[in-house]
Amino acid sequence: MPTWAELALRVGAVFVAFLTLPLIVGQTEHKVMAHMQARLGPMYAGGFHGWAQLLADGVKFAQKEDLTPRGADRPVFRLAPAVALLPYLLVLLVIPLGPGDLVAQPLDIGLFFVLAVLGLGVVSLLMAAWSSANKYSLIGGLRGAAQLLGYELPLVLAAASVAMAAGTLSLTGIIEAWRPWWLLWQLPALAVFFVAGLAEIRRPPFDMPIADSELVFGYLTEYTGLRFALFLLAEYVGIVVIAALTVVLFLGGWKGPFADAELGWLWTLLKVFAVSFVIIWVRVAFPRLREDQLQRLCWLGLVPVALGQLVLTAGVVVA
């Protein structure tokens, strides 16, 4: 296969995953959340149990007028949704689906790249918040910036622990070095990474930046139509990305009960959906954290645990 065809195939596959996985997760969220609240959820769109609800939502968003507030900083305001989506798309490029060649772009410093790119999220958030010329947007954006900067630290520390244990920054290398007993001694890192990841994608119970009972819709207040839909899509891609990273770093990626070489992609996808389910479950079960509780959890809870895990990992690796 010529290089360009292979490149096109890989980019195309990532793009398809980028468009379908979030929709599946979104639909699952609709139905799981509904049934956890003793409701049925969408039942009409598409005929069978509302399977086409998100497509219908997409069509609706595309039809809506695309408003830009008069006081807004137009170019920044219009660019922010794209900046929100881009990092997740780039992260999907380096996440290995299966062993060997089943990764769009194998990268030796994959983990470093992923963490660096995920940090871009705060830029889109501040862009949206500042350019909206709206006090709710601004307050939401500042809350979001404080939250993202704070939770970046435990996220990186937890990821560093697993990288240290595996002795590599390559995501493929980390999975290859992974052994089932890592589940036990990397458990604190797993918990810290998962919670910090939830906060990074601003999912409930960490959705203080868009707390709708106090800030209308935070930094998304002024967005309508397709741009708003892009932000929503970014949220669902975020779920997929955080779930995939948790799976790759802590749950053994493509390693399953049998046939890792042939069915690796299936184990990866199953684990990603399982972690996504937990993310949805946590959203249904827990109320939103207050701003001070949020920061307290980060600095007094997660950071010390992550540092302790780092010391433990260093000790085991050196010993």
Binding site: V32, A34, H35, M36, Q37, A38, L40, W281, A285, F286
Partner: protein, 179 residues
């Protein structure tokens, strides 16, 4: 039971997971007709033949939402000493935009001319269209459910008790009281 940190979080997860496994409570209303109990207060139906225009319902109605018009007719019975008068109903209307579903009219009607029916799908786009005349009220009689069966463990009805008492007295009186 000791509370260790995080037990509340686990409880929240457990409750939502338990609800997930149960059937949803949602009723698919327009697709599936709701199962309403027979005594549901949906709308008031009128059995016109039973109405004697005694006006009790209209007078007792707390917000005066029942409108009754009538006239008197002479009934000439051949061989009778004098003619009798009879009330004839000209209009019977209930304004459901005023009605507060208190059921006083139904309680007070001595001739069982008014009934509850569970029928509830009579919404209108205009408030004024909720004033329903006797033909519409009469149509709803078809939807009145039969009265619920008597509770087999309950006390028998007053009428049944009286009849039974009379029957036992009739049996006893010929021979029993002599001694």
């Amino acid at each position: 039971m000791g509370t260790f940190p995080g037990s509340g979080l686990a409880k929240g997860l457990a409750i939502t997971a338990k609800t997930l496994t149960r059937r949803a409570d949602t009723q698919q209303y327009p697709d599936v007709a709701p199962q309403l109990p027979p005594r549901s207060r949906g709308v008031i139906a009128l059995r016109e033949e039973n109405c004697t225009v005694c006006m009790l319902c209209a007078r007792e109605c707390p917000d005066w939402c029942i409108y009754i018009d009538s006239h008197k007719e002479e009934v000439v019975t051949p061989g009778a000493a004098r003619t009798r008068q009879r009330n004839v109903l000209d209009r019977f209307a209930i304004d459901f935009s005023l009605c507060m579903y208190c059921a006083i009219c139904i309680e007070v009607c001595p001739f069982d001319a008014l009934y509850w029916t569970p029928e509830f799908e009579y919404a209108e786009h205009d408030l004024r269209d909720l004033l329903h005349e006797r033909d519409r009220l009469g149509e709803w009689m078809a939807t009145v459910p039969p009265p619920p069966a008597h509770d087999p463990n309950g006390e028998p009805a007053k009428e049944e008790q009286a009849a039974a008492r009379r029957a036992t007295q009739d049996l006893r009186s010929p021979g029993g009281t002599d001694g």
